[in-house]
């Protein structure tokens, strides 16, 4: 910290700013009822989904489709349809994380608590079975090839993303291969996190929630969530704040169920894009701002080479607001100790 000439009042000197800035951040966290995750989050990240993967017969994934009226920092609310985890199924924020090994057959148990039917479907896959409102169905689903996938709803079609109806599927290497390895031959990682982006136009969500049809010709999202949360709630969630240690290599499984083409900026670090839509990429070098198309997934390695607290956020900056009010939206934090 360097002190320069100060033209302000003594109580507001630049020399005091970093500390007061930290205090302000902590006050913000406290006012929001937040506890910044640290060791607990690291434990969470290290065990994400691993218990269910150990089941040789294949995992049981349990989720429920529910309606949520989410409140935002500007005082507004917006309806969403969401999958939420049941039983021992883990989640990041409130997004279920369904983890298995390639070649396994998972059992997917879905309780549909919506007032409309759904077809749980892997993005890019064939539509799943119809599930009537108010019923529950358990069916087999092949764990897809190794990588990061999204589960959504074929019945809502293009509107499933803005409505937020999604979950993440992680498919890992076979049991004979070291767990924290992206491919059969490296690279290895120390921790992993899921960041699940959704953008929503409240006019779409309100129309669909009322049983109507939105104007599909106009889509101007005004709510932006990551793991179904907005900042600063993202900073209080152990599955969304990227807690790590200097020297770690962190795998980020980035999923964009929205329709906005995101370009996500990392403060403090350059990252390496490993795969886009589960295809290995060989074009990009290290980047600090990465392209994440709509309805796509990306696996990114984040080398932690300095300590500190650094934001991660898309750079189309309306995404860092709640219905226009900064600061909110799709900001989350890297907390490196």
């Amino acid at each position: 910290m360097n002190r320069d000439e100060n033209l302000s009042t003594p109580d507001n000197t630049p020399g005091d700013l970093p500390e007061s800035g930290r205090r302000r951040f902590l006050q913000l966290a406290a006012a929001s009822g937040l506890v910044l995750p640290c060791g607990g989050a690291i434990a969470h990240a290290a065990t994400l989904g691993e218990a269910v993967e150990e089941m040789a017969a294949g995992p049981l994934w349990e989720i429920e489709a529910v309606r949520v009226e989410q409140a935002f920092s500007d005082g507004s609310t917006c309806p969403f349809f969401r999958y939420q985890a049941m039983g021992s199924t883990p989640s990041a924020g409130t997004v279920p994380v369904l983890s298995g090994r390639r070649g396994q057959v998972a059992q997917l148990r879905v309780r549909n608590s919506l007032t409309r039917g759904i077809r749980p479907t892997i993005v890019g896959g064939v539509p799943g079975p119809w599930i009537d409102p108010g019923t529950e169905l358990t069916f087999d689903i092949d764990v897809p090839p190794m990588g990061t996938w999204m589960l959504t709803d074929a019945e809502l079609g293009d509107a499933a993303g803005p409505m937020g109806l999604g979950a993440v599927i992680i498919s890992r290497l076979g049991a004979s291969i070291s767990r924290r390895t992206l491919r059969s031959i490296g690279p290895r990682y120390d921790r992993e996190y899921v960041l699940f982006y959704v953008d929503s136009d409240d006019r779409w969500n309100t129309a669909i929630d009322a049983g109507g049809v939105p104007d599909f010709g106009v889509y101007e999202p005004n709510y932006h969530t990551v793991n179904n949360l907005t900042f600063p709630d993202t900073a209080g969630d152990a599955g969304t704040t990227i807690a790590c240690q200097v020297g770690d290599r962190v795998l980020l499984r980035m999923c964009n169920l929205g329709w906005m083409r995101q370009s996500v900026h990392f403060h403090g670090y350059h990252v390496q894009i490993e795969r886009i839509n589960n295809q290995r990429q060989s074009i990009y070098g290290s980047k600090d701002t990465i392209p994440l198309p709509g309805h796509s997934t990306m696996e990114v390695l984040l080398p932690i080479n300095q300590p500190g607290i650094f934001p991660v956020h898309p750079h189309s900056l309306t995404t860092t607001t709640d219905n226009g009010l900064y600061i909110g939206g799709q900001i989350t934090l890297i907390v490196a100790t």
């Binding site: 360097n2 913000l28 083409r261 370009s263 300095q306 226009g324 900064y326």
Partner: protein, 298 residues
Amino acid sequence: MAGLGTIVKPYYTVVSRMSGNQIIGGQSVGVWYFDRDGSNQGFMNNRQFPSAHLEIIEGLPSSVLFRNLSPMDHTIHLHGLDVDQENDGVPATSFSVPMMGSYTYQFLAPHAGTYHYHCHVDTVIHYHRGMTGAIIVRPSDSAIDRAWDGGPTFDEEVLWHLMTYDLNWKDISRSGLATARHRPGVFMLNGFESVQARDDLFTRLVATVGQRIYLRVLNSSYQWGRVRLAGLPFDVVASDGRPMRQVVTTDSWEIGPGERYDLLLTPTAPISADATVEYLDDWTGAVLGTAATRLEIT
């Protein structure tokens, strides 16, 4: 070199101004910007929108003395320079500089390449109003005709800021419901619409056959931009201050908000045509608007 390479040094004074003015979409618009060394001008000491650019030297300890001579808190976020938390310029995790205050951001200049800086206070507004500029990191020997140590050389060099503007936001000083949706009606290069950008000394691409033009593109808009150089093939050689793992040869390239790409054009025949940036709608992919400048190869 179109205004580049004239001042290369490891330290700058940057002053925030909230009293600028520029014609945008045919209207006189109040703009906010950062000047360089108290010049009271922004981009290329020629206009107040966008902000001035800075050129520093790879590997050297560098500093930006920021003087906030405007009536709001501001910061300088050194986008892509991977600075430490104290110097990251984010109020929520470090601090903002109050009105009439100052602070010296200190950092080690990283790998040579194209970077970015901007205010991170109420970012959705301050960025849109013009508090956004470029940082070029020169190779360790300060060369201004080579991209990085061991990297490609060039004869001409041009910097493009991709910019869009929503005139409904022009008088807004604080984010809120009115800034929930960005509906750009003005599409620019370096703060100019096509009618001015076509002949703008700092924007147009002028060279002779066989010369190599190094085009540094920073997308400081809220939309994706698609760059076309009149159909000529070019090489995408670097992004975000690092070489591409694999050079891509193409005739169009799409750039997301906050990204930077360095493009190398080596024309093989004379041409007089428009080089363009098409700004794209996220949902439909449709072209919302285009900004153009001249590509003159003799």
